[in-house]
């Protein structure tokens, strides 16, 4: 009886903690939503918390009227879907190979991978190489250089190493090669890790604005995050511009008054919400027993 009581207190504590925590995390987001539905001039007076004071759809109208936003949105979706699919497939295969203890050169390959996590030649050599490869101003520059993620490989490998050995043994007895074992046995039971790393890769692709701002010049290939970044940096820069002269100060201030906080928020939300929707969709892969269930089949 005592155990049940302590469990009950434990559970109550957990629920209270989670509710308080999620309020703290939801509020800033909710506040951004509210501000995006409030008129810009009124927002500048502050004090907007849970509900818009002067409701408007104007901020969203401005965003959706901008042609760059719509094509940016499409490019972002394309690169996220294609980039994630290719990257996760290739990285998972790579990791599976690396998880095999009898792979010749395994240790050296691993060291070779880890070095790349810490040593990088910087932007300029990478830029020159991408140019030699003909990737300038191409959609593929956002996909190809990022196919293999060493970090994801390490995570995949860790999970593969934890798989029960019996599984693969039986596959081998059935005469499966490494590739068939991987696709028909390992992949189906690796739901949680594939879902997690796909999510990470998709989020990375969606949020990466830097690649495009360096390599892409055509407006129709710009992902939406690069456009959002332009707006955000125009806001933050003026605050760091104290050192410039009076003429610059005056001009930047007047250029800025148009992009209000409300407009920034609506742009941010349009650029963020699509990626947020992926997680709830993937959550079913995190349910317990997925793996065991498939094992019994």
């Amino acid at each position: 009886m005592r155990t049940i009581n302590s469990d009950r207190i434990f559970i109550i504590l957990i629920y209270v903690f989670l509710i308080v925590m999620s309020f703290m995390m939801l509020y800033p987001f909710w506040n951004s939503v509210v501000i995006s539905f409030n008129t810009g001039t009124d927002t500048a007076l502050g004090g907007i918390t849970f509900w818009p004071r002067e409701f408007t759809l104007e901020n969203y109208k401005v965003v959706f009227q901008d042609k760059r936003m719509m094509s940016g949105f499409l490019i972002s979706v394309l690169r996220t879907v294609i980039g994630t699919a290719i990257s996760i497939t290739c990285t998972a295969i790579f990791a599976y190979g690396m998880s095999k203890k009898h792979l010749i050169g395994r240790k050296y390959f691993m060291i070779m991978c880890i070095i790349t996590m810490y040593f990088s030649g910087g932007l300029i050599p990478a830029y020159l190489i991408n140019r030699e490869l003909g990737l300038m101003d191409s959609f593929w520059v956002m996909v190809i250089p990022n196919i293999i993620s060493v970090w994801n490989m390490i995570i995949f490998r860790t999970f593969f190493l934890e798989l029960p050995e019996g599984l693969e043994e039986s596959a081998k007895i059935d005469g499966c090669g490494n590739w068939r074992t991987f696709f028909s046995i390992v992949v189906p039971i690796s739901g949680p890790v594939i879902a997690t790393l796909s999510l990470f890769a998709a989020v990375w692709h969606w949020n990466d604005w830097f690649t495009a701002s360096i390599y892409i010049t055509s407006e129709h290939l710009m992902p939406i995050q690069t456009l959002l970044q332009q707006i955000l940096s125009s806001n933050i820069m003026s605050e760091q511009m104290m050192q410039t002269n009076a003429a610059a100060q005056g001009h930047m201030a007047s250029m800025q008054n148009v992009t209000t906080k409300s407009l920034t928020m609506s742009t941010m939300l349009v650029a963020t919400i699509p990626i947020l929707l992926i997680y709830p969709f993937l959550q079913k892969y995190f349910t317990k027993g997925v793996m065991i269930g498939s094992m019994k089949e």
């Binding site: 040593f119 020159l128 701002s213 104290m242 009076a246 610059a248 201030a253």
Partner: protein, 544 residues
């Protein structure tokens, strides 16, 4: 363990050497395209509007995004009538990296628009810029409006002109100053506000009567604090603080040991300690400042953008209560200082930044012709107020566009358009724009006049110091002096903030003593010598 380390370094070394080999191969063919002959621009006359002109344009700032060309009335007009099309190369929020990759790959845009100094000098030394001298006499506007003195100051060490200035001026300009909250001022009996003593007693009074109001709002990064230095003595300007060099006779001296600077920091500390200055002075964001002034929650507001931020705040407050709003006042000064010699703004005839034409441009003369047209009367009218017919119709004798009814009535749309046009304003002609604005303002009845223009003509421009002689006195950042300057800048930023938070006057002095010592150890003297030399050269150029 042992084997691991060894093999790791082996692999690393191998990879390094291989990649060097690889890159050596790919570098070879590049060098040949780089040695393009510098175009001196004697290709014959170019007539804008007859020959189509296309060029690429890169604005070298993180915050700068050029709007799409031809999508708004002004650039559409230019495209149709002048046959000019500009292709934007955006910084995408990473100007520095973008700029470097463009240089490293040898693919420069036709025009680069950015700050004077380091980047321009580097490009010039590498022979990547087209000198403009050959075009100066062919196209009249730049020479006419900027004048020879300004152009001489813009010349590089080799005596040639590479930079096309933006917002250059022959007359004072600026946006900074103190603005008082009308309602609070009236409520408190409209006391005299001239000297620092007046300021202090007024702020104390505000604090007492309006505990919720910020007595003195100093804006972003505490800019208003620097005004205290400007008022402590005659002919002290905020520019001294930015250069961290105080002129004394014909040498530049240390900021930290300067008695006037010390006095201003002691005063700032006193105001801050007694909570008369906003306590978030250094950390606050633009949104926070805006919120306070737009709500009328400050008694005195002062920073470098007072006329810009104040306009919005003033109209919001006036809309609620015509008695409310802000008024810009003459800067405060220490007792005994001549108020006519207090400078809270400064301008230089060179303006804000420049455009340079690179050797990648196919038609440098055409580009110059366009910029020259842009900086002339017609160009400025189109890019600032749009094509004739909507916001203006006809011109005054001096060429100023005359505003239409739509200009006054269609504020929202106009503000949006003018902000878009601002991103195409690469050759701003301050003298022309400012004179045109005041021509129109003077036609309006007093209560309809633009708050910013009134504040500027009455106060801000009259308290703006001509700092042309101090232009370009700072070293390149990767030179020896530049490295020192970076350290001095760090020391100065820190001591300014620390002095504000110090508990008493003695601590302020002690902090400044320490800063002086640190600065000297970092090589301050060497830097000051360098700056002095540049300054003296400037004076010679101006007096030529």
């Amino acid at each position: 363990m042992e084997i691991n380390k060894k093999s790791m370094f082996l692999i690393l070394a191998l990879m390094l050497s291989m990649s060097v080999l690889f890159s050596a191969c790919s570098k070879g063919d590049e060098a040949s395209n780089q040695n393009k002959v510098v175009d001196q621009g004697d290709a014959g006359n170019f007539i804008l509007g007859e020959t189509p002109l296309n060029f690429s344009f890169y604005g070298n700032y993180d915050w700068y995004t050029m709007n799409p060309w031809g999508q708004d009335p002004a650039t559409k007009w230019i495209q149709e009538n002048k046959k000019v099309t500009v292709e934007a190369i955006q910084s995408g929020g990473t100007a520095l990296q973008k700029f470097n990759t463009m240089i490293a790959s040898g693919k420069l845009p036709d025009v680069i628009w950015g700050d004077r100094g380091t980047d321009v000098e580097k490009l010039r030394m590498a022979g990547k810029l087209v000198p403009l001298d050959a075009y100066l006499d062919k196209y009249p506007n730049l020479k006419k409006w900027a004048g020879d003195k300004t152009l001489n100051m813009l010349r590089s060490e080799d005596g040639k002109l590479y930079q096309f200035p933006n917002w250059y001026t022959k007359r004072p300009m600026g946006n900074g100053g103190y603005a008082i909250n009308n309602k609070i001022y009236k409520d408190l009996g409209s006391p005299k506000l001239e000297t620092f003593d007046d300021l202090y007693s007024y702020l104390t009074l505000v604090k007492e009567k309006y505990p919720k109001v910020v007595p003195f709002e100093v804006g972003l990064s505490g800019q208003g604090i620097d005004f205290l230095y400007a008022g402590m003595s005659e002919d002290r300007t905020v520019g001294h603080l930015m250069n961290r060099a105080i002129p004394d006779g014909n040498v530049l001296k240390s900021l930290f040991s300067d008695p006037v600077y010390r006095e201003s920091m002691v005063f700032a500390n006193k105001l801050f300690k007694e909570k008369l200055i906003t306590q978030d002075a250094i950390t606050q964001t633009r949104d926070q400042v805006k919120e306070k002034i737009n709500k009328g929650m400050v008694a005195i507001y002062g920073d470098f953008t007072t006329t810009v931020m104040g306009t919005e705040a003033n109209s919001i407050l006036k809309a609620k209560d015509p008695e409310d709003g802000y008024t810009m006042i003459w800067p405060f000064h220490k007792e005994g200082v001549d108020p006519k010699k207090v400078w809270v703004n400064e301008f230089d005839s060179l303006g804000w930044n420049v455009s340079v034409i690179t050797t990648a441009a196919k038609n440098p003369e055409g580009i110059f012709a366009y910029l020259d047209w842009l900086t002339g009367e017609e160009g400025e009218r189109i890019i600032f107020w749009g094509p004739e017919g909507t916001y203006w119709k006809g011109t005054s004798e001096s060429g100023a566009p005359l505003y239409t009814e739509t200009y006054a009535n269609d504020v929202e749309e106009r503000t949006k358009l003018m902000a878009i046009w601002d991103t195409f304003q690469w050759a701003g002609n301050t003298t022309f724009i400012d004179e045109s604005k005041s021509v129109n303002e003077m036609n309006l009845p007093e209560d309809k006049r633009d708050w910013a223009t009134v504040s500027q003509t009455n106060v801000a421009w009259k308290t703006s110091f001509d700092a042309t002689e101090f232009g370009n006195i700072n070293p390149l950042p990767d030179s020896d002096e530049g490295i020192i300057m970076q350290q001095i800048a760090d020391i100065a930023d820190q001591v300014r903030a620390k002095a504000l938070f110090a508990k008493d006057e003695q601590e302020v002095i002690a902090l400044l003593d320490k800063a002086e010592q640190d600065a000297q150890n970092a090589g301050y003297e060497k830097l000051l010598k360098f700056q002095t030399q540049k300054w003296q050269e400037n004076i010679k150029k101006i007096n030529e």
